[in-house]
Symmetry: C2
Subunit: 440 residues, 2 copies
């Protein structure tokens, strides 16, 4: 059965402008896909087959927008969100991040934290995420199960790492491959109770980054991605010390991106790389050629003092760019705020060079919806055939004067938070609040 | 009668570190001033006079911190908060700011918006603010009355401007002086029903900025400040076009700050200047000499693409620096978030020059509390003699693991919002929610 929703509908088919349907209608098929958008009730007639009676759910004066997609986030760092922001990258990793990730050998701890993480993604209207877990297969499976139970989309990576980290966070290449194949078996090949027709939840090959992985580990990751045709995520060119380190570790590579490319981890299957703050020249060309996507994480780049990624330049070059919260380098799960930061960082580039116009609101919105959504399939827009991933926004507390619809949306993004999000949909289904507490 | 509050007490006596009293006690005198802080109940005995029985109000596991002070905010731009962020400074002023300020000739409109503004300052725990109003004497008086009724502290400036703006926002020098003297009479000299023993609410001389004021207007502002010994606020060195314009308008001045100084608007009475993004050399020396305070507005500086103020350098030079929301150049009233932005902006300076360490959390907190509070008297700390301006924070929703008190405070600042603020005090009195709706 199809459903029609009535609301003020806004989305970005193209990055340069919003599509706005004041008191518009959107029809969603039984399979959760958008049939189309209409400006008025008469137009809805086209969706009726025979004498079909279609229910219209009226959201009144509320806004209906695509749900948020987070292209880069570390689930096991959720406990450390908003902490240790006085530290630099290396002491922060050694003193906060690695000790925290070790705790995920304990399934009880993992469940307590991962439930909260999934709950809070839901809370902020993020219906799809590209997630780093830890090396631990069991707790990674648990995280995938929690996403599945919530009905939210996620590509979840068991993290591959075997050097430059504490012993208890190292795994042998064989263990890594075995763990991945278990997860692939559960979530992809067989039908073990939580198999998912739409592949809402699935594994993603996740070498932490070059400094954490020996050549053998990288090789095995690339082979897994090719064998099972799985997507890939990692970190790229986040800060200058890291880039220098990669140069010493991968001497034959011509750039950081080339190091991934040599192991078939750079676009041979769909690939997203977080940060790319210092990506240019050959690396940028390779990303374009191989269609490697950028996860832009402006809060993290500021907090960890990495620098400012040149997103306008990337867009001009035709790179695909989405946004990431990068918890806990980033401190905020709310993609609305990440959009604001993306615009602000682009304004700093603009302030230094007026030939690089800053990002517009529609561009930031497009990065968080349609552009990032593309990594998950037909996601992030309300065009026909797209999955109906949507948020219903009640901004009555922010809408105290005669604001236009675009002004209302801008205020929601700049001033709003989870309180304005009153309904969330993923793949056509309304997603209710996931449980924080453990136990079935 | 004195009151003792029990809670986890945190404040910054010095910028370099937090004072932390886990399950501590703070005694407040009947006049609203802090008597002292104690580590345990035994120590409280010292506060008892004779057989005096003092009530202890126990806030349990909650945090007690000084309230926030906003050193720069435009009340009549509140309707435009989070709007028009795609525009640059000049079209933004012409198309959004000036047309909005014109509306404040209408007292009914002013009351509707100003009530919301005062309410939302309260909501975010800002108990003191340095406020720009408009040229309109009546609506400025109304805003002062609303602060007075709320019990919150504010220095409110009727804006002086007579050039480079629409006709309806120009006022003659004589009208400006007359309007100010009316407000001074109401709030300072006489006792017209809302006179305030502690001078919680009072006028501040407010030339908009040099480009908006003729020499005669600036002269009259300086004379008013001297005659009535009133503080002064304005804008300084926000962006480079503005600085160039000031050079052409005030040809004899050696720098932008010197232009104010020639009219006795630069520290002759207590003075705060917003932005100072490009302040250096002679201007910086003049600020030090004259003890002119900086209102650092990082969100605004990013949104309007002004640049990044070198706050570490200012602190090293011994300048007094507080924080400002600068609504609506800034988009957020929440001083917690302004602290985060201040740290992030300082990290961008650090990223470019590692000899300038970035701001620590205690430094950002100190700027928003004790340093900014200094402009309002003994405000922003819990040392003896300070006004008891305080927030009680219930962070149970953020405190889901064994966080230390400092970690809890950091998470409140990075992740929290108005929902965690459960009590607000100004000058010892609990401040209840101001009414949004009009009418007595």
């Amino acid at each position: 059965m199809k459903t029609i929703y009535k609301a003020h509908i806004l989305f970005t088919k193209e990055k340069s402008r919003f599509e706005v349907f004041e008191n518009g209608y959107i029809a969603v098929a039984a399979n959760g896909q958008v049939i189309g958008v209409a400006e008025n009730e008469q137009e809805c007639e086209k969706w009726k087959v025979g004498n079909e009676d279609i229910e219209v759910i009226d959201f009144g004066d509320r806004l209906l927008i695509p749900a948020m997609n987070d292209l880069h986030v570390h689930a096991p760092q959720y406990r450390n969100q908003g902490l240790a922001m006085d530290l630099e990258l290396l002491p922060w990793l050694q003193n906060y991040t690695f000790p925290e990730e070790m705790k995920y050998a304990d399934l009880g701890y993992a469940e307590r934290m991962y439930r909260r993480f999934v709950h809070d993604l839901w809370r902020f209207g993020t219906m799809r995420a590209c997630v780093f877990a830890t090396i631990h297969t069991e707790s990674t499976r648990l995280l995938m199960r929690l996403f599945k139970e919530a009905g939210m989309g996620a590509l979840v990576g068991k993290v591959a790492m075997n050097r430059n980290c504490p012993e208890s966070l190292k795994e042998s290449v064989e263990e890594m491959v075995k763990g991945y194949e278990e997860l692939i078996n559960d979530f992809r090949i067989n039908n073990l109770g939580f198999r998912d027709e739409k592949m809402l939840v699935g594994p993603i090959i996740t070498p932490r980054f070059i400094p954490s992985c020996t050549p053998e580990m990288l090789q095995a990751c690339g082979e897994l991605a090719a064998k099972y045709q799985l997507p890939v995520q990692s970190h790229l060119s986040e800060n200058q010390d890291e880039i220098a380190l990669v140069k010493t570790l991968e001497k034959d590579s011509t750039c950081y991106g080339d190091a991934y490319n040599r192991y078939c981890l750079f676009g041979q299957t769909p690939t997203v790389m977080a940060h790319c703050v210092w990506t240019k020249g050959e690396e940028l060309e390779l990303m374009k050629q191989n269609n490697v996507m950028v996860a832009h994480c402006p809060t993290s780049n500021l907090n960890v003092a990495s620098g400012m990624a040149p997103i306008r330049h990337f867009l001009d070059e035709g790179l695909q760019v989405g946004l990431g919260s990068d918890i806990s380098g980033g401190h905020d799960l709310n993609l609305f705020r990440i959009m604001v930061y993306a615009i602000q960082v682009s304004k700093m580039h603009y302030q230094q060079n007026h030939e690089q116009p800053f990002l517009t609101l529609s561009e930031a919105f497009w990065m968080a919806t349609k552009s990032a959504g593309n990594f998950f399939g037909q996601v992030g827009s309300f065009e026909p055939g797209y999955e109906f991933d949507a948020l219903v926004i009640d901004d009555s507390d922010l809408n105290h004067d005669n604001y236009s619809l675009l002004e209302r949306l801008e205020r929601i993004i700049y001033l709003g938070d989870d309180r304005q999000i009153v309904h969330r949909f993923c793949c056509g289904k309304e997603i209710t609040e996931p449980k924080i507490t453990c136990g079935s």
